[in-house]
């Protein structure tokens, strides 16, 4: 039993590894990422992609090779509908806009489900049909990019703070899916995705389950369109194809199986973040005029490579079953957060002149990692040898703790309480750092 359960999320190893590497490079290349506005804009830019990937994910889990190629045009369709209705002053309030966005998404997906279930056409053909029809109608609704987003959204897309309504939407969507996984409906959904005939013969009402999956996908895409509208604060009928291609890529990067039955919100989230990070990392290199081509090529190469890596998943699962994805996540997250802290606070270690060094003194107490420096300042002088020994001991303790956790978690189906606490502490530490850094730059700016 324990062996089997460990393999349920082995597929997450690839995206986790990828995100750790990418995040490390991203922070080293562009330290601006680790700040309130950096994270804030990251969330806002990545949110539509994330939502589109969620939508694809919930359909992919439902099986039959359902890849809704129309996800991008659908998002653009809802986007231009919102903008058009706003410009005609039909629907301008928050409730109306939410209702329109979610309603359109759900309506389209209900139609999709009905065709797949009762007309019994392959989903890929319905998706193709929807893609062409929606791409066309988008340009009819709004011939060129333009228009204005509803008034209440104007402040959403600024991205100077982490706590924007966009983050709330992403969190609600993620939490919603995680809560949904606790229901028996989800078990039926996965079973249907994995083997539809087996599900049908064992009495699962597959039509209802399929409709449910599509409704959820519709809700996600509606939310995604809201995020997208907030991001560009206008209407854009032309970006549908791009959004489809990138979100399908993100889906695969997240390790979601396109043949159904495997996948989850974590994978989709990681995939979308990975894709965004690839773009971010590439944008830190200055390729000049061929930037767009390099980005496109890297998307392609990484997509193919990560597909090939998924071939290794069974091998990994068989041979190194003692590594649980969550354990790997925690270890890698520690390393990456370390890099982040280093990148964000590296300025502190190099007191350019005594004045700033003095001024920064009290601030240092806020950071965990700067404790040795702080100790030295307080007069608790340690010799280099003692420092080394202290660091080694800490590293050993951490290593043992991590190894123990990994071993314990390898057989667990979900993250244990310890891991939850650990991740929460990590996130809090990072947040404290980022929040503090805002003060820091403010403070530095005030100095002569």
């Amino acid at each position: 039993m324990s062996e089997r359960s460990s393999s349920t999320s082995t597929y997450l190893l690839v995206p986790i590894l990828l995100i750790a590497v990418l995040l490390g490079i991203a922070v080293i290349r562009g330290p601006n990422l680790v700040s309130m506005s950096g994270f804030g804009s990251a969330i806002i830019v990545a949110a539509p992609l994330t939502m589109a990937t969620y939508s694809l994910m919930s359909l992919a889990v439902a099986g039959r090779g359902t890849v809704d190629l129309a996800v991008g045009p659908l998002m653009a369709f809802i986007n231009v509908s919102i903008v058009k209705l706003n410009m005609l002053e039909v629907v301008t309030g928050p409730f109306g806009v939410f209702f329109v966005a979610l309603g359109l998404g759900v309506l389209y997906q209900l139609f999709f489900a009905a065709v797949v279930i009762w007309v019994r056409v392959q989903p890929i053909i319905v998706a193709l049909s929807g893609f062409l029809a929606l791409t066309g109608i988008n340009l009819v609704i709004l011939p060129r990019p333009g228009g204005t987003a509803p008034e209440f959204m104007s402040s959403w897309g600024i991205g100077t703070t982490i706590f924007s309504p966009i983050l709330l939407i992403v969190l609600i969507a993620t939490a919603g899916w995680l809560l949904f996984t606790l229901t028996p409906f989800y078990a039926n959904l996965r079973m249907m995705g994995y083997d539809e005939r087996a599900a049908w013969t064992s009495g699962v009402r597959i039509n209802i389950v399929r409709i449910g999956a599509h409704v959820i996908a519709g809700l996600f895409i509606g939310l995604g369109a809201l995020c997208y509208t907030a991001l560009i604060s206008s209407g854009d009928p032309t970006q549908g194809t791009n959004m489809t291609l990138t979100s399908v890529t993100a889906l695969v990067l997240g390790g979601v199986s396109l043949s159904g039955g495997r996948g989850g919100v974590t994978g989709a989230l990681l995939g979308a973040l990975n894709l965004w990070l690839i773009g971010y990392v590439l944008s830190t290199f200055n390729f000049g005029a061929i930037q767009a081509f390099i980005t496109q090529m890297s998307y392609g190469v990484i997509l193919v490579l990560s597909l090939l890596l998924t071939l290794l998943v069974p091998v990994i699962g068989r041979h190194i079953s003692f590594i649980s994805p969550w354990g790997a996540f925690v270890v890698l997250a520690t390393i990456v957060v370390g890099i982040m802290l280093q990148a964000a606070t590296s300025a502190l270690y190099l007191p350019a002149d005594p004045l700033t060094a003095l001024a920064q003194g009290p601030l240092l107490t806020r950071y965990l990692l700067t404790t040795p420096a702080e100790a030295a300042q307080l007069g608790l002088s340690l010799s280099p040898f003692q420092q080394m020994a202290f660091l080694l001991a800490t590293a050993a303790v951490v290593l043992v703790f991590a190894a123990r956790l990994m071993n314990a978690e390898a057989s667990a189906r979900r993250m244990g309480l310890f891991l939850y606490i650990f991740v929460a502490v990590l996130v809090l530490a990072l947040f404290a750092l980022v929040a503090g850094q805002g003060d820091l730059t403010l403070f530095k700016g005030a100095l002569p």
Partner: protein, 463 residues
């Protein structure tokens, strides 16, 4: 759908068994020919043309009607459900009746609301559409194979009839030439998609390979490589890309869609990067297209002195080769065998890897060929030239009736699909619809067409 008993060989001249049917057919053919005769004189066409057309149309109609009757007679031996009760009749025909009623209501609503819509041609169009529905539901079911081709042909015919009624100059030589030329581009690009679909795969890298070969060829020519060598090199490169696609997607069964998409991204990005290194105009490639390539694909090209571009001839030859090859060569039969049932094909010793990879390689070669021809047509390199082919190749294959699950269909079907798409597109342009409306209508068209013949069985039939 492929396990029907082999139909007896049809004689060249079909003669129905019942004498009454012959007379009925003859009468129908003569009546229709007489209508044409009257119309011809009504339009004031020269008498000998009218007589010639009448004689030919009578003969063809008679042959067609007899052919259908013969098929019905051979089918009639099979037991059919007894539609004794009215309920059973309704059960059998409800989809058709509902579809026809919906069409009628839509027509009435549009007619009532839009004054410009009230014209004789639109009424004729409605009647033709209703007739297509009737045909599609009632007649096509009687054909054992090629049902989708039958529907496709009827739709094609109806489209041509409606278009020539509505649009002035639709049947003029330049327009037909244009339709055929664009159909040739799409058709050549579809060869690979058809082969791959027959084996149950998909190739979404086609548009990217088209775009990449388009600018790649111009780039090579710009570097001073002799144009024939450059074109050959591009075709080989396309084949190599296709082969990589095939090998990788063979490993990753079921993920061909995504894999080819990723390969396409990589290829397009790489080509653009390579061609823009050391160039001040990133992404734009300049160069002069050689004369022979221009002549090959441009609208005013000449084939052995005849006034149509050689691309059309290439497509026709290619189509014949592919159709015959798929039908009679060992390669073709093995492709069907693998697509139909991979396991059993493997058990009789068909190398899956070989044929799978070969299909993808051919797909790459033909995509590169399309890209090169498009360069001759446009005279300038542009990476986005392949973009419309991302879904139209799929749409043509699907509308033609080749199953995306593999094992059923053929390139002949795809040719019909390509022609339907092109004629429809020409019709939509002709009545003044913009590109976006065309796309919308294409999208809406695919679904009902596939629903007519491409439905998968109910789950209870699969267990």
């Amino acid at each position: 759908m492929s396990d029907l008993p082999p139909s007896p060989r049809q004689p060249l001249i079909p003669i129905p068994r019942s004498g009454v049917m012959i007379w009925v057919n003859l009468a129908a053919a003569l009546i229709i020919a007489a209508i044409g005769f009257g119309l011809g004189f009504g339009q004031g066409i020269a008498a000998q043309y009218v007589i010639l057309a009448t004689v030919i149309s009578t003969a063809v109609l008679l042959w067609l009607l007899n052919y259908i009757v013969v098929i019905f007679e051979t089918r009639a031996d099979q037991p059919s459900a007894d539609p004794a009760q009215g309920r059973a009749v309704w059960q059998e025909n409800r989809v058709m009746v509902i579809a026809m009623v919906i069409l009628l209501i839509a027509y009435l609503i549009v007619t009532a609301s839009v004054p410009d819509f009230r014209s004789v041609t639109n009424l004729i169009a409605l009647l033709v559409l209703e007739a297509i529905l009737l045909f599609a539901f009632k007649v096509s079911g009687r054909f054992s194979t090629g049902r989708s081709a039958f529907i496709g042909l009827i739709v094609l015919l109806a489209l041509i009839v409606i278009s020539s009624f509505t649009i002035k100059g639709f049947l003029s030589a330049p327009n037909i030439k244009a339709i055929l030329l664009f159909a040739a581009f799409l058709g050549i690009a579809c060869v690979g998609q058809t082969l791959v679909a027959l084996m149950g795969g998909l190739d979404l890298s086609i548009p990217f390979v088209i775009g990449a070969s388009n600018i790649g060829l111009l780039f090579l020519i710009g570097l001073g490589v002799p144009s024939f060598v450059a074109a050959g090199f591009i075709l080989i490169l396309g084949g190599v890309i296709g082969m990589v696609n095939g090998l990788l997607s063979y490993k990753l069964q079921g993920q061909a869609l995504i894999l080819t998409l990723g390969m396409g991204f990589a290829v397009a990005g790489l080509t653009q990067t390579l061609t823009s290194i050391g160039s001040a105009f990133s992404g734009n490639v300049f160069g002069s297209v050689p004369k022979w390539l221009q002549n090959l694909a441009a609208m005013n090209g000449k084939t052995f002195g005849l006034a149509f571009p050689p691309t059309i001839l290439i497509w026709i030859v290619l189509a014949i080769l592919v159709i015959v090859g798929l039908r009679y060569s060992a390669y073709g039969r093995y492709v069907y065998a693998l697509g139909g049932n991979r396991r059993s094909a493997k058990l009789i010793g068909v190398s899956e890897l070989k044929y799978w990879t070969l299909a993808y390689t051919l797909s790459g070669v033909f995509a590169a060929l399309t890209g090169s021809l498009l360069l001759g047509w446009s005279g300038g390199g542009f990476i986005g030239v392949g973009d419309p082919y991302l879904f139209t190749t799929l749409a043509a294959v699907v509308i033609g009736g080749t199953s995306l699950m593999g094992g059923y269909g053929g390139y002949g079907f795809t040719v019909i699909g390509v022609l339907v798409l092109q004629v429809l597109s020409s019709f939509l342009i002709g009545i003044g619809l913009k590109y976006e409306w065309q796309q919308f209508i294409f999208g809406l068209l695919i679904l009902p067409m596939v629903a007519l013949y491409g439905r998968s069985p109910h789950i209870r039939a699969q267990v």
